[in-house]
Amino acid sequence: MHQWDFSPVFSNLDFLLLGLYHTFLVTALALSFGIPIGLALALCRLSRFRLVSGVATFIIEFFRTTPPLVQLFWFFFALPILIDVRMTPFVASVATFSIQSSAFFAEIFRGGINSIERGQWEAAKAIGMSYRQSLRRIILPQAVKRMIPAFLERSIELLKTTTLISTVSYADLMFQANELAQKTFRPLEVYTVVALMYFFLIFGFSYASIHVERFLAKSGESTMR
């Protein structure tokens, strides 16, 4: 029978919390780059210029179909050979997950934009709006509301995928957990605590988002009808 002893974990809690902070940081940065890049890719893919939409489609499909671990290794180990950059694990991680998640966000944006009836574009056009004005004032506000559940799902997925960055020795929560488990010989306790940390982080995120959705539901049309 295993004798549970959490004291080595709790005495090193700051060590794990630093990892949690790093996990959170990489996720937040990947989201803040990934969402705008995703929107740009989606708009390019929807472009009526074949070349533009073709290039965007290729980028999106490439990053959706290759394993994130391969992408991470490519950015961290291969890219510095091609171009003269010094890749820190942090930069490689943020770059990989920004681009990787942008490919998925692009598809969410595209789906959201396509789900808006043609009549909305026409009504915007009929009062003299340009493409940009229509998109910004009429189409995106409606599309984004419909996209929120998919956005959320994807963000949670991203947060979980960031555990891969421990493989390039970036001190995220997973990396810190591995270190601590080896140092204290208490893997069971360490990974239990870490699992709970991920759980509360993601559950809190998901819980907050339900409130956001409810709030949006009050202002007219939303996904919750």
Binding site: E117, A123, I127, S130, S219
Partner: protein, 259 residues
């Protein structure tokens, strides 16, 4: 007859692939005139309307707005700049069959949107005008409702107010009562008729022949992408000359002319 043509169309042809929907339309609409387009579905009447504000780009022909050619001619072909067309559409209002209100905005915001975003007017001025336009269609008490809480007839009247808020020189109505329950048609037609009385220039596609009879200064019959007959409603709707127009009117057996 010095009245200026607000909208003029010359030799308008529209093709979708191999399908020729409009086969050379000539049309002049004078200031204050109400023109009603009739014809079976597929006759090209909606397409004609949509070519006037460039929701569709004409394949051939010229469109003039207040005597000025829309677009520029280059090597015998018309070139249209997006900026010019956007500006044109602010002067040509359009109302659609399916209302197309912006569901994420209140009635008031729907009517303000074009003024603030496109015409760059201040919020105060836009709001004042929006309330005025909603009053014009009898809906000032619904200003703060979202479209989802309005009836079809109310939605369509908000859509009319939204188009009017841009202070257009001409209004296009594309089968605006076709999606409405019969009991809601009247309120929308009343609003349009009131506009006609105020002297608004209008081009209307409708299946409401009784309404056409009362509101139109001129009725145009379209068939197979051509205008086959036109004139005052009392002539066209009572004594049509062409066989196709006769058939069309007989098809609308419910239409009874007033004595």
């Amino acid at each position: 007859m010095s009245a200026e043509a607000v909208v003029e169309v010359r030799g308008l042809v529209k093709r979708f692939g191999d399908l020729e929907v409009l086969k050379g339309i000539d049309l002049k609409v004078r200031e204050g005139e109400t023109v009603v387009l009739l014809g079976v579905s597929g006759s090209g009447k909606s397409t004609l309307l949509r070519c006037i504000n460039f929701m569709e780009t004409p394949t051939e022909g010229r469109v003039f707005e207040s005597g000025k050619l829309v677009g520029t001619e280059k090597n015998g072909r018309m070139v249209y700049r997006e900026r010019e067309l956007c500006a044109l559409r602010t002067r040509i209002g359009m109302v659609f069959q399916h209302f197309n209100l912006f569901p994420h905005m209140t009635a008031l915001q729907n009517v303000m949107e074009g003024q603030t975003t496109v015409l760059r007017e201040s919020r105060e001025a836009a709001e004042k005008n929006a309330i005025e336009q909603l009053r014009r269609v009898g809906l000032e008490d619904k200003a703060f409702e979202y479209p989802a809480r309005l009836s079809g007839g109310q939605k369509q009247r908000v859509a009319i107010a939204r188009a009017l808020s841009m202070n257009p020189r001409v209004m296009l109505f594309d089968e605006v009562t076709s999606a409405l329950d019969p009991e809601l048609v009247g309120e929308v037609l009343k609003a349009i008729r009131q506009l006609a009385d105020e002297g608004m220039t209008m081009i209307i596609v409708t299946h409401e022949l009784g309404f056409a009879y009362h509101v139109a200064d001129r009725v145009l019959f379209l068939d197979g992408g051509e205008i086959i007959e036109q004139g005052p409603p009392a002539e066209i709707l009572v004594k049509p000359e062409t066989r196709r127009a006769k058939e069309f009117l007989e098809g609308h057996s419910l239409f009874k002319l007033p004595d």
